[in-house]
Amino acid sequence: MNEALLRSLTPSVLAILVRRGADFAAAEDAVQDALVEAVRVWPADPPRDAKGWLVTVAWRKFLDAARSDAARRRREDLVDEEPAHGPAPAVDDTLQLYFLCAHPSLTPSSAVALTLRAVGGLTTRQIAQAYLVPEATMAQRISRAKRTVSGVRFDQPGDVATVLRVLYLVFNEGYSGDVDLAAEAIRLTRQLAAAIDHPEVAGLLALMLLHHARRAARTAPDGSLVPLAEQDRGRWDTGLIAEGVEILQAALARDRLGEFQAQAAIAALHADAPTAEETDWVQIVEWYDELTRLTDSPVVRLNRAVAVGEADGPRAGLAALAELDASLPRHTAVAAYLHERDGDLDTAARLYAEAAHEAPNLAERTHLTRQAARLNARRCR
């Protein structure tokens, strides 16, 4: 049984239950129960109509839960007037679920958890493992999130930008466990792109695909980071790159530029270079200028300084860096890199060691320490 296929039915099944009058929180529980039952039953007895099966079972689970809770009279009434089985709902419903799960009243971590469960169909245990928290903690986070959005009307239009931020978080902050969160984020973004025609949704999907294409080349066998310039480009996934570029080009042709399209354009320029030396840094700087106009983000300006260093030489990069707040994350690492390119190896080694001290994760710390060690070892010989 294809579990991803099963989970792809989650949002539309959930939306049908909500349309039939089930409240969101109870419907979401019922759909989870139905998914668990499907995993148990389908291998031996696969249904002809998978979605119909899930709707039937989830609705029964919902009714069972409502009936067993005598205090909840309102749902009892609902049972008596079971609605007719109408036509399959429009894709719109899936979109409404994305909006609900990324509702601005939710904190980012709650929105991520709720999206993965209610739209992605992951179990609480899987989400907890992925984010390295106890299952009980994640269960609480999800049920609080459901309570928070319980008063939100299901047919209210939402803001695509908040949904994209949540999906980007899932893609970028995937940690561990048996669920590949980056792949899951791509799946959910694909599903969203099918539900809404929006250039920034396409832009985010292209960005994810282009980054994902480099995944195998990004880590060495010992788990250490391999910087872009040193990656074995033969290990990049050309299929994903081609798809990402195609999606991006179609989005850019719409002439409604946004930050994800601009980021994807930069990723595409890297993907397009047969060797690191052939990278079109001048165009990349231009895209960073666009991004700066769009977001005015200091992180973008920091990345721009690196690109300027490649396009116009390390001195120009250092000059661009000098205009930025030195307390920015990774500022020291960028300074170390530019000083090395400029031939000042002593300063570079000292700054790499300092950057390692400030690194936000172990892989980066080890990488930066190794950079310092590489320069120090050269100097000693």
Binding site: Y352, T366, T369
Partner: protein, 137 residues
């Protein structure tokens, strides 16, 4: 079974025998060290003795309550002399002897020149849950 905390310090522990800062090692020596640490944790997972391991950033602050309606007081970054924890591993083992044995192995991780660091690690037993039978006989 009993749980022990193995604590690694940035500062505050007695000096290691092979006490060379990591950025003075060769890149290959760093790789060998990282590999040793990964293998160690993987082996403890296989033997069913690994519980948890985390690394901590060297920067942090002291924080305390400052009264009703006032924001907490913070003080930091830590002074240079402060005893500073770098990370921990929690193990669940049959005896104190086993905990010491494992801490010894962890301390043998290779450093500069590919030789063991002989780093001092702190071994701290967890206070246990109250046993079912507490009466004396």
């Amino acid at each position: 079974m009993a749980k022990y905390l193995l604590l690694k310090h940035y500062r505050g522990a007695p000096a290691a025998v092979n006490d060379v800062p990591m950025d003075q090692w060769t890149p290959e020596e760093i790789s060998a060290h990282v590999q040793y640490m990964n293998d160690f944790a993987a082996r403890l997972e296989k033997t069913g003795e690994f519980v948890d391991g985390q690394a901590l950033a060297p920067e942090g602050a002291w924080v305390r309550y400052d009264g009703e309606g006032r924001p907490p007081v913070t003080d930091g970054p830590f002074a240079e002399t402060k005893d500073l924890i770098a990370g921990w591993m929690v193990i669940d083992v049959d005896s104190y002897e086993r905990a010491v044995e494992l801490a010894g192995e962890l301390s043998a991780a290779p450093g500069a020149g590919g030789k063991p660091i002989h780093e001092w690690l702190e071994v701290r037993p967890f206070l246990t849950a109250t046993p079912t039978i507490t009466e004396c006989h």
